[in-house]
């Protein structure tokens, strides 16, 4: 479409230049990177031919950071410094971790109020946040992609569980930025899977994506029609996954060992990790076999030798399978669909290989689930397709994803109750405003507490942010009108603003909930990672500012040439004046001044951009040829 091309400044210079963009599935157990090459979405492999990178990070004694298979191999020998399944801790505080006793890490929580929500893990390399640990995994995938594709990436689509809340999404985005990735979009994992599946099979109709990963469960219901992937509803459990099945086996093995060894001394962290690894292997083995033998020697010399049958495995884990069906029913109700309305059920995530899961899903939907795409790879493949579209490589824009917010967002009102402002399963992007008022006469400040969740009591929901709106003019109780606006962008990330509006006295605040890392901290960490001289940094900043300036100048000039007649001559001249000003400033060596002039030009073109957007929408609706807009 012509309008998209206008917004792609690089296109006119080199129209056929393929931009390197990747999709990354940052998984609990394994992570993958994929890209679209010769119109095919492909998973990229490492030097040894491995597509899956175990999401395991080890802080080694020699100060190096080891990621992947090599780190995984050391997890029993060095459990405290080898972090597995870190995704479970993203955007989480210590109190959110239910089974802390079974996890070998030393968790630390900062006592300061603002950071108490996010935990850290003590390693020999110092305190590490889940964001930093995840960034190590992402760095390896970034390097793999750049080596494999032979160039710098313009950006990446990172997938997140659909049921991730705001804190978990923000943490994931922070990790990607920390890894030096330009995040084109956070994409929900089931939606990514639907893209890979739907495009592959040219499907139309209602589809269910049942996604049981290592540590998270998502179920999404989508309507597919002519390249539009519309999420109707999503539900899930962000703390339920294949790991829990391992853990059940682990507990079962311990019970067995205790039966024969009455005085079982406490297990070491290495023992725990070893038994969990054996449990995972047994689970995988039972996918195709009737029984699995678990043999290993604990550090105290006790030999573990037990056999788990497939039936026993089903018995000890059936409650976990059942646990996935409640969110599935909720999603179906929210989508307002019956089982008969479903054209296909796509299985995603390695854990869906377990036969009793497939049976449970088949029983519920009364149809055999679709497993023709590798459940480990389908998310990354879909993310790569979306990254290719977002980077502007696809000339036809047939693919459109309309996703939803998984959890309701609201505010705390008197009595610790939640007033929902945005309901779950609202299509993104969304902005909703609601008015609130004061409780006491003469009240001049208001504490605004933002929460996420479905329950009526604040204490049952997740607290996202708390801020104070001051400067409300003193009035009788109930007279003030405080308008609170919630905005959720296409990444599913929230920002909140509040304004007192009965008197016109400005009392305005805008916040993005922050978790752990601030903008400055990320910038500093990134800067520290380029161990270059001050002069180099300045040169890079100037170069970046000039690239930005050049991009916006060519974009605005092209837009004026194509659609200038949408605004008055005076308005056109005002924009041209800003363009000229920016051109002059960009020739000088002051990066800050260039960035300011870019902002000024952006501001000057807001009304013009809105007019073009309206014109583009009118054209889309009237179905008229848009050749007149072609550059």
């Amino acid at each position: 479409m012509a309008l998209l091309q206008i917004s792609e400044p690089g296109m006119s210079a080199a129209p056929h230049q393929h931009k390197l963009a990747v999709g990354i599935d940052l998984g609990t157990t394994n992570s993958l990177v994929a890209t679209v090459r010769s119109a095919m979405s492909t998973v990229l492999q490492d030097n040894h031919g491995h597509a899956l990178l175990p999401s395991v990070v080890r802080y080694a004694p020699d100060g190096s950071i080891v990621v992947g298979h090599e780190a995984q191999a050391q997890q029993s020998a060095d459990p405290i410094n080898t972090i597995v399944s870190v995704k479970r801790f993203m955007g989480r505080g210590i109190n959110d971790i239910a089974d802390r006793a079974h996890i070998p890490y030393k968790f630390v929580s900062n006592s300061e109020a603002q950071t108490a929500k996010t935990l850290q893990i003590e390693t020999r390399a110092g305190l590490k946040s889940p964001v930093e640990i995840s960034a190590e995994v992402l760095k390896v995938l970034k390097t793999r992609a750049e080596k494999s594709l032979g160039g710098e990436l313009v950006g990446a689509v990172i997938t997140v569980p659909a049921y991730f809340d705001d804190a978990q999404r923000q943490a994931t985005k922070d990790a990607a930025r920390l890894a030096g990735l330009n995040v084109l979009r956070l994409l929900n994992e089931p939606t990514a899977a639907a893209v890979a599946y739907g495009l592959d099979n040219a499907s139309e109709g209602n589809f269910v994506i049942y996604d049981l990963g290592g540590g998270t469960f998502d179920v999404s219901i989508l309507h597919l029609s002519k390249g539009v992937f519309e999420v109707l509803s999503t539900n899930g459990d962000s703390a339920l996954g294949g790991d829990d099945f391992d853990h059940r086996i682990y507990c079962w093995v311990l019970d067995k060992v205790r039966e024969s060894n009455k005085q079982l001394t406490p297990l070491t962290e290495g023992d725990t990790r070893l038994l969990l690894t054996k449990a995972r292997q047994a689970k995988e083995w039972l996918t195709d076999n009737f029984e699995a033998q678990i043999v290993c020697r604990l550090s105290n010399g006790i030999l573990v030798d037990v056999t788990l049958t497939a039936d026993q495995f089903v018995e000890i884990t059936q409650h976990l399978v059942t646990k996935t069906l409640a969110p599935t029913r909720k999603a179906m109700r929210d989508a307002n669909l019956d089982v008969e309305d479903i054209q296909g059920v796509v299985m995603v995530g390695g854990a869906t290989r377990m036969p009793h899961i497939r049976h449970a899903v088949e029983d519920y939907f009364r149809q055999e689930p679709l497993t023709n795409l590798d459940p480990d790879k389908v998310v990354a493949l879909g993310a790569a397709i979306q990254a290719n579209v977002l980077a502007g490589n696809k000339s036809d824009d047939d693919l459109l994803l309309l996703d939803v917010t998984p959890l309701s967002l609201g505010l705390e009102t008197m009595g610790g109750l939640v007033e929902k402002v945005i309901h779950r399963n609202s299509t993104l992007p969304i902005a909703r405003a609601q008015e609130f008022t004061t409780y006491k006469d003469g009240q001049t400040a208001m504490s605004i507490h933002v929460v996420q969740g479905e329950r009526e009591l604040v204490s049952d929901c997740r607290s996202l942010a708390q801020f104070v709106l001051r400067g409300i003019p003193p009035m009788a109780a109930g007279a003030a009108r405080i308008r609170v606006t919630f905005t959720v962008d296409a990444d599913g990330l929230l920002s909140v603003s509040a304004r007192e509006q009965s008197t016109g006295v400005e009392a305005h605040i805008e916040v993005k909930p922050s978790y752990g890392l601030t903008e400055d901290e990320i910038t500093n960490m990134l800067k520290a990672s380029f161990s270059s001289a001050e002069a180099d940094k300045k040169a890079r900043m100037l170069a970046e500012a000039r690239v930005n300036a050049g991009a916006i100048i060519s974009s605005v000039t092209a837009a004026l040439a194509a659609d200038g007649d949408l605004i008055s001559e005076a308005e056109q001249n005002a924009i041209k004046a800003e363009v000229d000003r920016l051109q002059t400033i960009a020739a000088a060596d002051d990066a800050t001044a260039i960035n300011q002039a870019v902002d000024a030009l952006n501001h000057a073109t807001e009304a013009f951009a809105a007019a073009r957007m309206n014109a583009s929408v009118s054209h889309a609706l009237s179905g008229k040829a848009i050749n007149s807009l072609e550059m």
């Binding site: 917004s7 951009a609 957007m613």
Partner: protein, 175 residues
Amino acid sequence: MSSVHTEYFQLFALPEKFDIDTKLLETNFRKIQSASHPDRFVSATAAEKLASMQLATLSNEAFDTLKNAASRAKYLLERQGINAVADTNTALPLDFLMQQMEWREQLEDAKAAKDIETLDKLYRELRVESKTLEAELITLFDDDKDYTAATEVTRKLIFIDKVCSDIQQAIEYLD
């Protein structure tokens, strides 16, 4: 927000009526999203991103309002300067209020008895009731232009929607 498309029916190129072509609403919604969604403007200028975000947000809001019968009716009344849910707008016929109390009682009883099946049945019953009211609204809005009568029926529809969402919440809680 720019002034051109702040009116919901106009945004979707639909006539301002209660009886709308929902297929066309959906088709046009997807066309608008396709032209304005932030995914189309990932590497655009900040001004273009802002315009995209605003229009995509507006069309989501407008689509939500028009696709649901109760909110569509409420919106049509707003266009006539009538606030269907204003505190002053409390009049509802006695028989409907009695009926509503009865539904509420059934809901509470089924909830206490943890009886999902009865809740489901009640839900379907109310949906049938909604359909009857929607048919009435077509005549009142589109033929008679009787906004006073339409206000009363709209209020009934909003009440039923509320009971329905409470039923769904109860089912969810029990499930």
